[in-house]
């Protein structure tokens, strides 16, 4: 049984649940109370503590889809496909959250809901690619064929992301660049709040991932039982 599954341990699941709960509560405190107002944008900027971690989780989960796809094609073990599927679903949700929070912030900060800026546009394209990934999965009945084709699409989609970014980058950019290589341009307390949020979101992502994987496994067991009865 162990060979077919990932992280199938209820102790780990509950540990992650409590850790992410503590992380999220601390993160909320840090984002709304601990971190100071921003000099020019005032209170509006605080959405940044939800926007940046959501975008991070989205990118992380699409990386997992990519790795899961490669590993599935190499090993043909179903658990890799389940991992990729679960991660893609969570990634699409967090990608949507990043787009929506970014848009809400953009209205007061840039005076517009949307601009065709590299990071925004790349995130939108990411959302489109992985929404297509999920649609593709629903359109194929046969299990191993679905896993193979989805793995190929997940790989191609991920390889495309840097090229999309580069292609849009040669347009004028208005996205605030918070991190550059030699300096970090935010106050230390803001950075601390951001790091807490990043850790909390990552833990929450892992928690959701494990839950989604075990849901998928239960579904498969149910299918197998139905087959045996019939």
């Amino acid at each position: 049984m162990n060979r077919t599954r990932f992280l199938d341990s209820s102790r780990l699941t509950s540990a992650l649940f409590w850790l992410s709960l503590v992380g999220i509560v601390t993160g909320l405190y840090a984002a709304f109370i601990y971190a100071p107002n921003e000099k020019t944008m005032g209170v509006v900027y605080r959405i940044f503590y939800f926007h940046v971690p959501s975008a991070w989780v989205a990118f992380l989960s699409f990386l997992v889809v990519f790795v899961g796809g490669i590993m599935y094609l190499r090993t043909r073990e179903r658990r890799w496909d389940t991992l990729a599927l679960s991660s893609a679903e969570i990634g699409v949700v967090f990608c949507a959250i990043a787009l929506i929070t970014g848009s809400i912030w953009g209205k007061p900060a840039w005076g517009t809901w949307w601009t065709w800026e590299p990071r925004l546009t790349t995130t939108l394209v990411l959302w489109l690619i992985y929404a297509a990934y999920l649609m593709l999965r629903r359109m194929i009945e046969e299990e191993s064929q679905r896993a193979r084709v989805a793995a190929v699409f997940g790989i191609v989609g991920f390889v495309d992301v840097p090229i999309v970014f580069m292609s849009i980058r040669w347009w004028r950019t208005v996205h605030p660049i918070v991190f550059t290589i030699d300096e970090i341009r935010i106050a230390p307390s803001m950075l601390a709040a951001l790091l807490i949020a990043l850790v909390a979101f990552t833990l929450f992502y892992l928690y959701l991932l494990i839950q989604r994987i075990s849901l998928e496994n239960v579904g498969h067991e149910l299918e197998a039982l139905k087959q045996r009865v019939a």
Partner: protein, 224 residues
């Protein structure tokens, strides 16, 4: 060299099929023409006489949509008549099948573009016989046919095959669309070719990366 020869035989098969039915090329061409006409109305009725502004976009929308039409046919006709199984039984590498289908699709796309481009020149009153423009079209079309062939093979396995292809394909194609439209616009504006070089390089990079990725992953799509 043996693989190249086998791939060319598959191209030849597709060409013979097309010469006998003429269904793919004619529908692609008419569709491209329709797209040019419809977009011309859609934009010019806004009262803007500077057609040069919209021309690059119209050209690539027409090529993209007409190309998807052809790509859809590429594997559906194999699947519907059980030809895909036949191809799989042939003593050739899966990568030779990919190369053959991709080259065939590239040839059909280029032919369609060769017929549609003069029409475009007439409707928009723009010079199109420029080496730089032809290079841009070639690079864009190579990328299009390269990934498109892989995605055509993917979408033919799904329940709603014609619908799935553009949904899967267009998001991945975005870099090609951006680079092609931008460099086409620069060429029509008459700026020096040096300024288009980043876009040309981007298309080259896209073409190389995705030809390799598609070439390697095609066998997983068609197996079983």
């Amino acid at each position: 060299m043996d693989g190249v020869k086998k791939a060319l035989w598959i191209v030849w098969k597709d060409v013979v099929c097309e010469l006998r039915t003429k269904e793919t090329l004619s529908s692609m061409f008419v569709f491209a023409l329709l797209a040019i006409v419809i977009f011309n109305f859609a934009f010019q009725l806004r009262g803007d006489e500077r057609v040069g502004l919209i021309a690059p976009g119209v050209l690539w929308v027409a090529f993209t949509f007409a190309g998807v039409l052809g790509l859809n046919r590429s594997f559906i006709k194999e699947k519907d008549h059980g030809c895909l199984e036949g191809l799989m039984l042939c003593p050739v590498d899966r990568s030779a099948i990919y190369a053959g289908k991709a080259l065939g699709n590239l040839a059909f796309m280029l032919l369609m573009e060769a017929i549609a481009l003069p029409m475009f020149a007439v409707f928009f009153n723009l010079p199109v016989l420029m080496p730089s423009l032809l290079l841009v079209i070639l690079l864009g079309t190579v990328g299009f046919a390269g990934v498109g062939t892989l995605f055509s093979a993917i979408s033919v396995n799904t329940k709603a095959r014609e619908v799935m292809l553009p949904i899967l394909f267009f998001p991945v194609l975005i870099p090609i669309v951006i680079a092609a439209v931008k460099s086409t616009a620069q060429i029509f504006d008459g700026v020096s070719f040096d300024q288009s070089m980043p876009w040309i390089n981007l298309m080259l990079a896209f073409d190389v990366i995705f030809l390799v990725v598609s070439f390697l992953s095609f066998e997983y799509v068609v197996e079983g």
